[in-house]
Symmetry: C2
Subunit: 244 residues, 2 copies
Amino acid sequence: MSGLGAAIEMFAALRKERPVDEDVNKVWYLRQNRLFREATEEGIMQHEHLFTMCEMPRGTLVFDAGDSARIIYFVKRGTVRIVRETPDGKDVTVAILGAGDLFGEESLFDRRARTTHAVVVDDALLCTSRADDLFALLSRDPALALNVAKVLSERLDDAQSTMEDLAYARVGDRIEHLYHKLASEHGVPVKGGLRIDVRLTHADVASLVGSTRETVSLEIAKLVDLGRLRLDGRAVVVPKEMLS
Amino acid sequence: MSGLGAAIEMFAALRKERPVDEDVNKVWYLRQNRLFREATEEGIMQHEHLFTMCEMPRGTLVFDAGDSARIIYFVKRGTVRIVRETPDGKDVTVAILGAGDLFGEESLFDRRARTTHAVVVDDALLCTSRADDLFALLSRDPALALNVAKVLSERLDDAQSTMEDLAYARVGDRIEHLYHKLASEHGVPVKGGLRIDVRLTHADVASLVGSTRETVSLEIAKLVDLGRLRLDGRAVVVPKEMLS
DNA sequence: TCCCGGCTGTAAGGTGTCTTACGCGGTCAC
DNA sequence: GTGACCGCGTAAGACACCTTACAGCCGGGA
């Protein structure tokens, strides 16, 4: 994958929209993105060396809490989990990210070591950039900087909605909300609903809804009984009559 | 708080002309905001007409969930609470903001009605700007746009830390963490610690830590017993030996 | 001054969920 | 194949916290 491809993917990531067919969409992104509307081919070329692509299999630790490497990541393909660890060693997953998302953006503004770690959930293709390089690029282009702000604003809204759930909803409802959100972001249409192919174990789900592996097993079984979720092999399906 | 009250307050916020001495201070106030931290005096002067100051007493509903007015707010003085409401009517306070913070920034990127409401906790002086005006300003100044991103990034980190607490910490610990955070952000030094002058009722605290008024009363009493908090009249004091 | 409404303290009972414990089936490496 | 490991299902007991209920307090307005 060329650096140019990487750069294009990065701006695609900032727009938070997902390609259906990659080859067609490279051109599509060029036309859509404000930056590239006025930019010459050479202008794009100038920045291609700032980006690197890399492939990572399920389970890879992208970065660890405490790391001080200042790198920003863009998800091109696959899924990544952002995790905090509580003082007594429990994991809290604060975000599940897919194609089009970016992460590690704290290091754009903050020199402190990371407070989270990031793990690959489904085999991923990532694009990376050094914080200083990206910062310089953003400093020259307000539209891009605003895109970053927009992405963060959406993530904040997401986090607040999760806080609401954690504060007052029961575990069963939290799990259902989680799967509805995953369905809308990562669901693939199957007959009768949306299948979630993100490979989350019950322990992973527990870390997302603030519960334990055992209660998650129990509550999922209850939800399936009630017809609010279905199982398709190992994957969870949200019935379409449940999608508001 | 009634919807009518909300509308009246919004209207007042847009219309009210402040006394001349406030206008003179406007630039000074703007300068205190994180957004304009590195901006030049002239730069602020140029855009000063985009902003309006307005005073709001404790209890004022700054904006309500469902409002579609696209306005961004800057806190010059006082304290403001950002609140979401759960389907069954419970309040979840997702942020407590003080001097230098901004809020309502969703409307910069998003045309949907607000999902939160904002209430004045301590008599506040706010500065308002129409979303479109501010957006135009940010589009011309990458440094300002990056400041917005930075503020959002910090708020996100904050939200994630709260999620961690809500997920696995006991109510007592959550309250203690809350007061430590408030102390570091809004605390005024008194002998033996930091006093928190933000006027939060136990019900308010409950909405911050995802609990009930009664358990908050109980747990605060326990914390005071253990010497982990002190009371100074109605205010809470965090003993300095508790500040890590 | 007195009343009223909002804030706080306290306690009994109920329950959602965590903890602990164990067994079972799949999958992968050897 | 066969063991080791991981992910899953289930169940009894404990407990943190919510619910419900009521009473005292303080401050502000009539």
